[in-house]
Amino acid sequence: MKGQRLVLTLISLLLIAGCAGSKTKVVDKKGMNLKVTEIPSAHSPLIAFRILFKSGTINEPKGKEGIASITASVMAQGGTGEMSYNDVVQALYPMAANIGQQINKEVTVFTGNVHADHLEEFYDIFSNLILNPRWDESDFKRIVDEHSNQIKNSLRSNDDENLGKAALNLFMYEGHPYSGIGAGTVKSLAALTIEDLKAFAAANYTQDNLVIGIAGGYPDGFSDRMRADFSVLAKDAPAVVELPEPKPINGIEVMIVKKDNDGAAISIGAPIDVTRSDKDFYALMVANSYLGEHRTFNGALMRHMREDRGLNYGDYAYIENFIQDGGSTFPVPNVPRRQQFFSIWIRPVSHANALFSLKQAIRELDMLVTDGISEEDFETTRKYLLNYSKLWVQTASRRLGYLMDSDWYGTGYFIDKIAEELPKLTREDVNAAIKKYLQAENLKVAIITEEAEKVRDMLLSGEKTPIVYQAGSVSQELLDEDKLIESYDLNINEEALKIVDAGELFEG
């Protein structure tokens, strides 16, 4: 389109300008060898903090699953040496400042956002929560209760879509440090003590494991002050947790999770050996966007399953762990991983259409692998991503998070990296990456359904699974394709097929 280059340039100017003055420094002074990532913006009235430790759930000792999340939560949603949790709440309230924590597989991040009017008062509390936590038994009990109820009364019972994703992760990474969820298990939570938390914090929240992130309208010298303050942490980082190769998948391996519900939630996935650090990642980005860009109608899955057939609310694909940021369509930053996975998310479908939907999603993937992407789709999708990716970093906090992730992956600023790599791609590069990393034969599947036995029997029988339309006439073209989908051979691994009661998951 005419003017496209200008579009790109202008958006780049706006959104990357925030990073033009950014820097990541390692200052070698005695006792101050701390890494700082900063994006100063003198005119901004807002300041965003991201205090990142390179430890997450993979650093949890065996039997203490959930300790990474409990420890960070008791610190961020607790008190300091001088202030109780209620004191902290009362102090932050007139500022409308917020403090949060985000725990993932490999990193833990303490976030803070404040108006410049209150920087000093806020920072005093924020830094003390991390450097001088109160470790109050009452806060500990409250946080453990929250986590336990999250497993027992929310995830396992009233949140089928996230249960599907958690079950897939568990199934896909059996015996691997990535297995499990941040909240741990009901039993492991019950066994934790405050002393366990203190030991975990001392071992993992260390100088060598730390990246200090700050962005916005803070005064000159503030980051040096933070470096000095955080140098009270212990020095050495814990040993790096080695990640084994995930177990190979043999055929279509299905875990059916049984619980009462009004429709089936389905997640499909397989580990892939590619991350943002790899050149191929950028070719695979284009392929994935074409197959199922998150919460858009661009993807083949969405167009063919929802728009053409009205099967459900949405169908998307991913080539890395994706956690949506609030109500936006963009991913949260600061969830990096050394190993990634490909996945398809099928939002709840009627029980009658569960297996038709599963077959259609895998068939769409199969067709992408077999046929590749057309020249036209390659060009339009690449152009889309070049523009759309600029929108991912609209706030200082998100820019900061992306910059820190870029350091983690060693890519240079990720948004710039996309702008650099995508124009160099050819359709052949994309199709080669598809062939190299994606396949439709060996996949793990989690299905959340109350019709567990029926779904198992249907999968084992290999019967046709025709679509049931809610109403209306359907074009002959669609009906013809429906015949192919209902008979699509899933190559089910019968030995791996299992039914699990939802109440048994994450119990211990």
Binding site: N86, D260, F297, T329, T395, Q470
Partner: protein, 452 residues
Amino acid sequence: MNFSKSSLLSLFALIPLLFTFFPADTKGGEKIFQYPINVGVLKNGLKVVSVEFDSPGLIAFYTIVRTGSRNEIEPGKSGFAHFFEHMMFRGTEKYSSTGYNDILKGLGADHNAFTNDDITAYHSLSSSDALEAIMDIESDRFLNLKYDEEDFKKEAGAVLGEYRKSITSPFLPLIEKLRDTAYQTHTYKHTTIGFLKDIEDMPNQYEHSLYFFDTYYRPENCVILVVGDVNHESLMALAEKYYGNWESGPGQPEIPQEAPQTEEKREKLGWDNPTLPIMAIGYHGPAFSDREIDMPALDLLSQVVFSRSSPLYRKLVIDEQLVDFIQGGAGDKRDATMFMIFTRVKETANVEMVEQEIYKALEDVKNVLVDEERLASIKSHMKYQFAMGLNSPKSVAGTLAHYIGLTGDPETVNRVYELYDRVTAEDIQMVTKKYFTNENKTVVNLSYDGGE
């Protein structure tokens, strides 16, 4: 929404949103919204609003239709405004649904839509160079929407899927029950996504969709809002070019008003899957107004009693840990709304005690004036929350769209702010006595019944 497009704001997300747009106090008569607001009106009644925001090369574009589930007055038509929002993505003769999406894809735009009780909003974030292209495709679907019955029925399946994903959470049936019980005649009786029986009947409502479009998707009922790198004069010229031929509508039917509630109502709701008991308490309250003090005073009351800094929160969540969350507030609505309180109790045996603690906290406000220091702290919180929320063209547009939806006038944001500044401890006490009475109250308790 309709795309994901359809975005009904998630129900759980709706609760915190009640507090999102609280303006705060002013100093020296300054307006809370400090960016100049430009307004123009076409001959057909279409209002065009722009705000220049420091975001070079970027614009947020909103079309606000001042129609939502409030307008679903016909029996059996609950959820229709939201369903129709989906249909707005089904194309025209000029741009098919695929063609429409391809253009936005080519622009790299982030785009979506949502429906609530009072409005339906279609929004995008894109480069400012794309303004004319966006006005071309947006005006085309508002003037020339065209879909066949087959597409209509398919889209009904997507809406049913949206309900299906939402109903895994107990909050949807809880809110459904609270509204259905508390209201008799007003359309706030149903949620925006609608009753399941009406959603299941949507494939049969093609003819009603034609009436709905003809009645509500008219220029005098809509507002165009552009925030970011935009020039108002150029915007008005484009508006005339693309929307000038849009014909005014035949007028809209009246919304039936709700008679005062005369006695307390209580309901119980069983839930098939394990959950902690959840309690919802609703009190009928006022409609939104940027002239009257009642709603602003209730907004401050919600902070006094239910914010994290409140004594009730400290007692129930922090000290005694009887509940895992509690919140209460009245969302801004065009018609008389409810002040809703939600809490999740950790032990079934404590549900009644928690309910009594809530009433005691409200009675305290009736008996003792909120002290000035606390009032100042609350106003400070609201001011900074407002300021920290205005950090991108999208968030600025979202804030203005909220107030435009309520009154049609973007200056409402400043008038409401002035009202917040004027709220006194006496005002808070007055509205507490006025609205928090037993005969004005509805209570719904949801609990796990193992599918019985």
